[in-house]
């Protein structure tokens, strides 16, 4: 009864309003007067958040963009407008280009490695268990789930410092273990000091820190899939791998896309890990990222205009990256709704 009542009360303008198409156009164009009620509603629910957003988000962006076209030193209020000179400078600067290259390297590998690893783990603890009876994960899977989440609870800077110690050439845990296994070539081997291993060692640390978190994210996604779907697939004779590829991944596609974008944005920043493991940018700048170069340019070289330009490039790179991820997802059929 109740829904019917509401409907009538809404439409009780008269019998003409029953058929909306026949409503006179005059009524449609007439603007309702701005009542105090409406204005205050706009003010509180739209104006205030928008003002906060403009002041604290949009205006710093716009300001940074303006500063990027000046030669501002950062410590005075004087600056000259120099147009796109800063952009020309950073795109011809070999160190910044190297940093950009490193970021691209991170953006390609970090999300893929992290997501594949966490997907495998998530599958194992949710649907990877015994192939008889109810669909379930490996034995003690709740224990693994908690343990693998541990690294995510440690602050990034602490992870960096801890792994810095583990990688220490002389007294580090890693070389200690390797040499005790009889691999003497790793005595005093500088994992973070060698061009060929510094980036890989650093990536490992980041992956280590995030696998647990994304695993939990995917576990939640997989738990949302009805168990019947998996059971049906199993009855049809699909193995665990086939189930993961044909059932799990398509059904949690949105989660994977989100994870990919988050991880990619992290890879484009990566400042904390890089600064903790190799504050100077690593051997031959092999672990230098744009955010670090931005920081050095601003605070040690006092070239805030140039640093702002780097910030703008970083922001544009991030936008392009998420655009590409959306596009790839769309092109591979991600917009098709497979859940029904």
């Amino acid at each position: 009864m109740t829904p019917v009542k509401t409907r009538t009360s809404r439409n009780d303008v008269g019998p003409t309003a029953v058929v909306p198409e026949s409503a006179p156009p005059v009524v449609r164009r007439r603007r309702k007067p701005l009542t105090w009620d409406k204005v205050s509603f706009f003010g509180v629910f739209l104006g205030l958040p928008l003002a906060i957003y403009i002041v604290f988000v949009i205006s710093p962006f716009a300001q940074a963009f303006y500063y990027s076209m000046t030669d501002w030193s950062g410590f005075s209020s004087k600056m000259n407008f120099i147009g796109l000179e800063n952009y020309r400078k950073i795109f011809t600067d070999d160190i910044f280009m190297k940093a950009l290259g490193n970021n691209i390297l991170l953006v390609i590998f970090l999300p893929i490695i992290t997501i594949i690893l966490s997907l495998v783990l998530a599958t194992l603890v949710t649907v990877g268990g015994s192939s008889k009876g109810q669909i379930k994960g490996l034995r003690n899977s709740s224990f693994y789930r908690v343990v693998s989440f541990f690294p995510y609870t440690i602050p990034a800077i602490a992870i960096g410092i801890m792994w810095g110690q583990i990688y220490d050439p002389s007294g580090g845990l890693l070389n200690g273990m390797l040499t005790s296994l009889g691999l003497d070539q790793f005595k005093s081997y500088a994992w973070l000091g060698d061009k060929s291993t510094a980036m890989i060692a650093t990536m490992f640390v980041i992956v280590w820190g995030f696998v647990g978190f994304y695993m939990v994210l995917f576990v939640a996604g997989i738990k949302g899939i009805p168990a019947e779907t998996f059971e049906a697939a199993r009855i049809d004779g699909a193995g665990r791998f086939r189930t993961a590829v044909s059932i799990t991944i398509p059904l949690i596609r949105d989660n994977i896309q989100t994870a990919y974008i988050y991880m990619g944005i992290l890879a484009l920043d990566a400042f904390v890990y890089m600064a903790a493991l190799n504050p100077g940018g690593g051997p031959d700048n092999s672990t230098l990222v744009m955010a670090q170069q931005l920081f050095f340019t601003a605070f040690t070289k006092s070239q805030f205009g140039l640093a702002s330009a780097m910030g703008v490039v970083l922001a544009i790179a991030t936008l392009i990256f998420s655009g590409i991820v959306f596009l790839v997802n769309r092109l591979t059929g991600g917009d098709k709704d497979v859940s029904n």
């Binding site: 909306p20 409503a23 449609r28 603007r31 706009f42 739209l46 928008l50 957003y53 403009i54 949009i58 205006s59 710093p60 962006f61 716009a62 300001q63 303006y66 500063y67 030669d71 030193s73 950062g74 410590f75 005075s76 209020s77 004087k78 600056m79 120099i82 400078k89 160190i95 810095g164 990688y167 220490d168 050439p169 002389s170 007294g171 005093s188 081997y189 500088a190 994992w191 973070l192 000091g193 060698d194 061009k195 510094a198 190799n278 504050p279 100077g280 940018g281 690593g282 051997p283 031959d284 700048n285 050095f296 605070f299 040690t300 070289k301 006092s302 070239q303 205009g305 140039l306």
Partner: protein, 469 residues
């Protein structure tokens, strides 16, 4: 229909808001250029006298921000107390910071910087960026200290040079740092080795050390440029002040100077012979220093005289840390073997826009009094620029005694350079030096990479250069 109409109204509102969002900050940022930088110093309101030479107002507050590094900030607290007892009613507000540039940048732009800053540490503000905004401190050194002597006459020679830019005494560097090659006197004697005076002797000692499973040097990834300091000092002794001026003025062939090249070659020979403990490019610098001071895996370490204080807790007992001059290439070097790289560090600056400029200067004057300076030498085991504050026993520190010995032996042959810090080159140079000390490059690569860093600064028209004569 009603619903649709409302959505249009909302969209219109949003569109307007977006347009405003774009326009407002643009207008704001333009306005902020014109605005900002207000403030300006207030004139002296106190009476000028010998006890108050800068005319600080009565019962005023001095706002000081001090870099909290190896020396801490308690020595300024000590001076602050003396300041408060000399000017009853006035207070010295002393705040520590480990990140001077980042923390104070907004205050400089906003026109309300502190009255006194210790602009030091890895994140110090580059002087070329703030030079026009600093007070000339000549009035401070011309004033009388608390004991009634003119401050200028109580200072070591040459200590004002590092703080003088284009003829303006913009910074008063408080602590005297002696750069030397440090070693354990007891360790060297036990092994029957002597201090090498040339690089050839150094190589020979390296071979002897190798036989006993020791290395000549250790290095850490953040401190690889300590070896650049050592190389430059050795090259200046070998080739004279030409070398220094070439580097300071960013000459196109500065690093190719024969003296620098001969030092690089000598170092390269030592690196390739394996006399550097491997893995330094992946070792944290304090961990590397402990390998020298505690584990004694290496014989020497080139560093500033802060090293004793820095490694206080990680030095083997009976180490007897001693400093000696950096070796030269030949015995016929242009400057004598005893010539030293010594610079006054911890630059104290007084921004002109501070609220209490006179107060900033006054606190600095108190710091330069004999009491405060002696307190510093005693607690930090490092001399200040104020003469005669270290007794003959060096408060029981062999390192402090050797600093005094080194300074006296060098006499007037004391030099320093600023280009690395002035133009913020250290970060780029670290990369190059880590590779070189790792044995992964050679003299030619090292030279061209360092020259490239120099060239980049020289060719950057947005960087203000300061000519050194």
């Amino acid at each position: 229909m009603n619903v649709q109409q409302q959505s249009f109204a909302r969209r219109g509102f949003l569109r307007g808001a977006l347009a405003a969002a774009v326009l407002v900050p643009l207008a704001g940022s333009v306005a902020s250029c014109a605005a900002g930088g207000g403030g300006g110093s207030t004139g002296p309101t106190g009476t000028v006298s010998d006890a108050n030479p800068f005319g600080m107002a009565d019962k005023s507050t001095v706002d000081a921000v001090i870099f909290k590094g190896g020396y801490g900030i308690d020595y300024v607290d000590f001076a602050g107390k003396a300041f408060e007892s000399a000017h009853s009613g006035s207070t010295a507000k002393i705040a520590p910071s480990t990140d001077i540039a980042q923390e104070l940048q907004p205050r400089f732009v906003g026109g309300n910087p502190p009255d006194l800053i210790d602009n030091s540490g890895a994140k110090a503000i580059g002087f070329s960026a703030i030079l026009p905004q600093l007070e000339d401190l000549t009035s401070v050194i011309n004033a009388k200290n608390l004991e009634g002597k003119v401050i200028k006459d109580t200072l070591y020679g040459g200590v004002l040079a590092p703080g003088t830019f284009d003829g303006k005494l913009a910074a008063l560097n408080y602590v005297l740092t002696v750069y030397a090659m440090w070693y354990s006197d007891s360790f060297l004697k036990d092994n029957g080795w002597t201090v090498p005076k040339t690089w050839d002797d150094m190589y020979a000692l390296g071979e002897q050390a190798k036989a006993k499973g020791k290395y000549l040097f250790v290095w850490g990834k953040e401190a690889a440029t300590y070896y650049q300091e050592m190389a430059i000092a050795s090259a200046i002794k070998e080739g004279g002040h030409d070398v220094r001026l070439g580097l300071e003025n960013l000459k196109a062939d500065a690093w190719s100077h024969p003296a620098i090249q001969s030092v690089f070659k000598a170092l390269d020979k030592i690196v390739k012979a394996g006399h550097f403990k491997p893995g330094g490019s992946g070792t944290q610098f304090t961990a590397a220093q402990a390998q020298w001071s505690n584990a004694q895996e290496a014989v020497f370490y080139p560093s500033g005289s802060w090293i004793e204080n820095e490694m206080k807790d990680q030095t083997k007992s009976g180490f007897k840390m001693t400093g000696v001059p950096i070796p030269t290439v030949t015995s016929g070097s242009k400057l004598p073997y005893e010539a030293m790289h010594s610079a006054s560090g911890e630059p104290f600056i007084v921004p002109s826009q501070g609220k209490n400029v006179a107060g900033g200067k006054e606190l600095l004057r108190v710091m330069l009094s004999k009491d405060a300076a002696t307190n510093f030498a005693k607690t930090k085991l490092a001399p200040t620029i104020v003469k005669d504050t270290v007794p003959a026993d060096g408060f029981g520190s062999t390192a402090l005694v050797s600093q005094t010995t080194l300074l006296n032996a060098a006499g007037s042959n004391i030099f320093t350079w600023n280009f690395v810090d002035l133009y913020g080159m250290n970060k780029d140079q670290l990369v190059v030096w880590n590779t070189f000390l790792d044995g992964k490059s050679d003299v030619a690569t090292l030279t061209s990479a360092l020259q490239k860093i120099t060239d980049k600064v020289r060719n950057d028209s947005s960087v203000t250069k300061i000519e050194v004569k």
